[in-house]
């Protein structure tokens, strides 16, 4: 008998659909069918059974990989961390929060820099949030209340396939019984995307001029005059959209990388937040970042409760954490050749980073922790395979609106393959052993007395 598992969370994008139904074979080893998921989500499940390694692989002098045991791999990883002056542990877009917490424990012990994919993605949003706050809501609020939706610099039709049907444009919620016919959809994007195709109004902002357009929106909202055309958009169109926004009962601005990675970056997000603040003087408005991976919100949440910073955490001082993007961010550290060991965890830095930092990181030991082979594993010194979160490993993940979703596993990981959490706990133990060995060998290093900072 095949087994149907319901309420399965999807380990692909930040929409975190939790209504998947997965059919597994009699012996619980094969995934036969995935219902309700988008095509990308269902691929994650089907791909679980192919291209898997069940043992860590260590690079040999001749350039080939040789399989080694997990104990050997853990020892190697712990030694790399122990010997490095400033290791960098980066990634975490695609793993669970338990794994992130365990990795932070390792980073703190090893005196490492720990960073996540926000560093090259929504990190600029964090900078704006530090300055200006974040008036937001959960996605269910949008579904139940919103009558105006703005997508700005985001293309969910491709990047978050079920976002519009689950939360924003189409669903019939408590106060929104008419579904999409009761909602106004505004898309602001320089391209005529498939999302723009869904819009009542598409404003084709001139590429790189989002800040100007926001400024015009705020000016109009406050009742002042603007030029005949701003950022390639006509005055009448701006006035029309601002009027719709002010008359909304409940509105949400969803923004994507079009804001946080085009000219202006954090300033674009900053003024988007200011516009949201302004609109709350008239009616109810909220704003939300379209976070990419299913749990890229997670490390920001976990490391905030552990250290008070969401990304770019420099723990190398060992007694205090420090964050300063630009100084402690992964790409910048790599470009300045400040790190001498690299852990790539649950992401693919080789594919996502610019080529120069990849080249510079590659001069030092590079360890990849990921279920599947990817570009990073192909240039690593060591690849440690782990179980796939959401497929083989359960755990908590954070949706793009910071709502925690409890994920299940539908099959077991291949025999002997640990979860990220188990792996990092074992590295932690090995690291403690190495430190103890060192301490036994050498006379104790003088550790400065802890003092309380002046209050």
């Amino acid at each position: 008998m095949v087994k149907k598992i319901e309420n399965v969370g999807c380990p692909f994008c930040g929409v975190c659909c939790d209504d998947l139904v997965v059919t597994v074979s009699d012996d619980g080893k094969k995934i036969l069918e995935v219902e309700n998921a988008c095509v990308i989500g269902s691929t994650v499940f089907h791909r679980a059974m192919s291209e898997r390694h069940t043992l860590p692989r260590l690079r040999q002098p001749d350039g080939t990989y040789k399989e080694i045991s997990y104990d050997e791999a853990i020892d190697y990883a712990a030694r790399v961390l122990h010997n490095a002056k400033k290791p960098l542990i980066y990634g975490f877009g695609s793993t669970n929060c338990e794994g992130m917490a365990a990795a932070a424990k390792v980073a703190e012990k090893a005196g490492a820099v720990i960073d996540n994919c926000a560093s090259i993605c929504h990190g600029s949003s964090f900078l704006a949030i530090f300055d200006n706050g974040y008036p937001s809501c959960t996605l269910g609020e949008v579904k139940n209340r919103a009558d105006v939706i703005v997508y700005w610099g985001a293309n969910p039709a491709h990047a978050h396939p079920r976002h519009m049907s689950r939360y924003s444009i189409f669903p019939r919620g408590f106060f929104t019984g008419k579904g999409h016919t009761g909602r106004k959809i505004v898309v602001i994007d320089p391209r005529h995307t498939d999302t723009a195709q869904m819009a009542d109004i598409h404003l084709q902002v001139k590429q790189g001029h989002d800040y100007d357009l926001f400024n015009a929106f705020r000016t109009v909202a406050r009742g002042h005059d603007i030029p005949a055309e701003v950022a390639g958009v006509k005055r009448e169109d701006i006035i029309e959209v601002v009027d719709i926004m002010k008359k909304a009962r409940f509105g949400t601005i969803f923004y994507g990388m079009g804001l946080c990675h085009s000219d202006g970056r954090n300033h674009n997000v900053d003024i988007a937040i200011s516009l949201t603040r302004d609109l709350n003087d008239f009616t109810k408005w909220t704003i939300m970042a379209m976070r990419g991976h299913y749990n890229i919100t997670g490390p920001g949440v976990v490391w905030s409760w552990q250290y008070g910073f969401p990304y770019c955490l420099d723990l190398t001082k060992r007694d205090i954490a420090h964050m300063n993007p630009g100084e402690t961010s992964s790409v910048d550290l790599a470009m300045r050749e400040e790190v001498d060991a690299f852990f790539n965890v649950g992401t693919d830095a080789a594919a996502h980073f610019p080529i120069e930092p990849v080249k510079r990181l590659r001069k030092h030991p590079w360890i990849t922790v990921d279920p599947h082979p990817n570009m990073a594993t192909e240039i690593s010194d060591l690849h440690i395979p782990v179980g796939i979160v959401g497929v083989e490993v359960p755990g908590i993940v954070y949706r793009m609106d910071n709502v925690p979703v409890q994920y299940r596993n539908v099959i077991d990981p291949p025999e002997g393959v640990p979860s990220d959490e188990e792996l990092f706990e074992r590295i932690y133990e090995r690291l403690c052993e190495l430190e103890a060995e060192d301490a036994a060998k050498a006379p104790a290093k003088a550790v400065p007395e802890g003092i309380r900072a002046g209050e």
Partner: protein
Amino acid sequence: MNELIVKNGFVFDPLQGIKGDRMDIGIKDGKFVETSALGNPKVIDAAGKTVMAGGVDIHSHVVGPKVNVGRLFRPEDKLFKSPLKRGNRMEMGFSVPSTFKTGYDYARMGYVFVNEAAMPPLHSPHVHEEIRDTPIIDNAAMPVFGNNWFTLEYLKNNEIENNAAYTAWLLRATRGFAIKVVNPGGTEAWGWGLNCESIHDPVPYFDITPAKIVTGLIETNEHLGLPHSVHLHCNNLGNPGNYTDTLDSLKLAEGYTAKNNFGREQVLHITHIQFDSYGGDSWRTFESKAEEIMDYVNAHDNITVDIGQVTLDETTTMTADGPFEHSLRGLNNLKWANTDVELETAAGVVPYVYSPNIRVCTIQWAVGLELALFAKDPMRTFISTDHPNAGPFFRYPRVIKWLMSREARDTTMKTFKWLERTIDATSIDGIDRELTLYEIAQMTRAGPAKALGISNTYGGLVPGMDANVAIYALNPEDMPSDPEMIEKAFSQCAYLIKDGVVAVQNGEVVAEPAKRTVWVDVKVPDNAQVQRDIYEHFLRHYSVGVENYKLFDEHVHNPRAIEVDATQ
């Protein structure tokens, strides 16, 4: 065999009426025992020191989504304000400390139990993840009910039994502890950018008044017989002239008596009442109405309060009172985070500076102290700072100093820019009362434990209870002449024994005994109507499935369930 004896200390245990007697306390296997039951115990010498039960905090925002937003969006709260690592993990942050710092700092003050003040039910997995990472102290968390659509609909139709069944279901689904109510109705109105400014202001669409929400929840609570009472954050909080609204809220408890098996006597706990005790009709005429409020509280046994003392720090305000945080944003124009939570609640976070140079802040400071000093029954009036809203929790020792010493109050008041206007607007200058160590023990342990319905386990030194002992370097027969020494003694306890393990010694964490998650497991009769309502709302209106909403067992850290049978 793990045995300890705390010898020769001056013991203060209000649960047993012990007022500073020189006594020995026996501990065996994590519980208090008669000293005669001990074989060969390890001795802790407490001669010349004050011995109390481990502290119990009835209201503090320490774990969960809005606390974490406060951490995330304030890097400046870490900069030059975090101590260097002393223990097992780094300790980051000032007004909103990291989970590790929270656990360590509470332990250093001699606290063992902290009740998280507001858990948005949808976010319960987050709350429990942070509880896991908060060392040493036991935690409970109160889910918020006052703006929950199920609750609003049941109470509007006077369906107390249905509301009780839903409450029991939600407490289990979130591993929650008690019924928390924040700005009843007003936070739901905030979904539309509106508010309920008085208890008679109906909620948009749901058409029920805050007054009816509160009385309905009191009836629900007593119907179930939960350990704790309804825990209320009043409507119109924080505004000049709100004391009349507060009195209206207090009067809602009239005629109700507590029904439970946990020794609790109140039916309504008003939290951080300092923010609800203001007179005047504008910030210009802002004044204290602490005396009027406490006159009412003193005369009514079925009410308890915690003070929510302003500590004059730069801090981070955070509350499920969404409209209040929005108005605060308008007041100080600093950054503002907000999260509306579907069907349930909302939350806002805004940094705030309580400055001794600002008249309103110094009046607020006086109001909090007046409330505690006007209290006739310290078993019903508790010390809190509504951490981090009025100030961080690690200022409790400073609050204790102010309450125990007129001289300390005068010293602080001398720093006020608007001293005369503060004195004119309050009665703080006319109060000479100085609280005793016994009264402090009532306000920080015995009283909160009793009000929470956990005084059979926490807050006292009775044989059979959890062996949680705080020892302070204060000699009641020879109290220091310098009030600063009182603050120091309460900041860095000489010893904290948690579950029979020495966790803190001379103000430093030396061990991390296992911590627990305390929750309330209520059995109620099967209720098909409520089951159907839950199914419908999750099918149509929630953005997660009900099976993923209910907390998985594996995400509850070291649970301790308090069982309540409400099937009869």
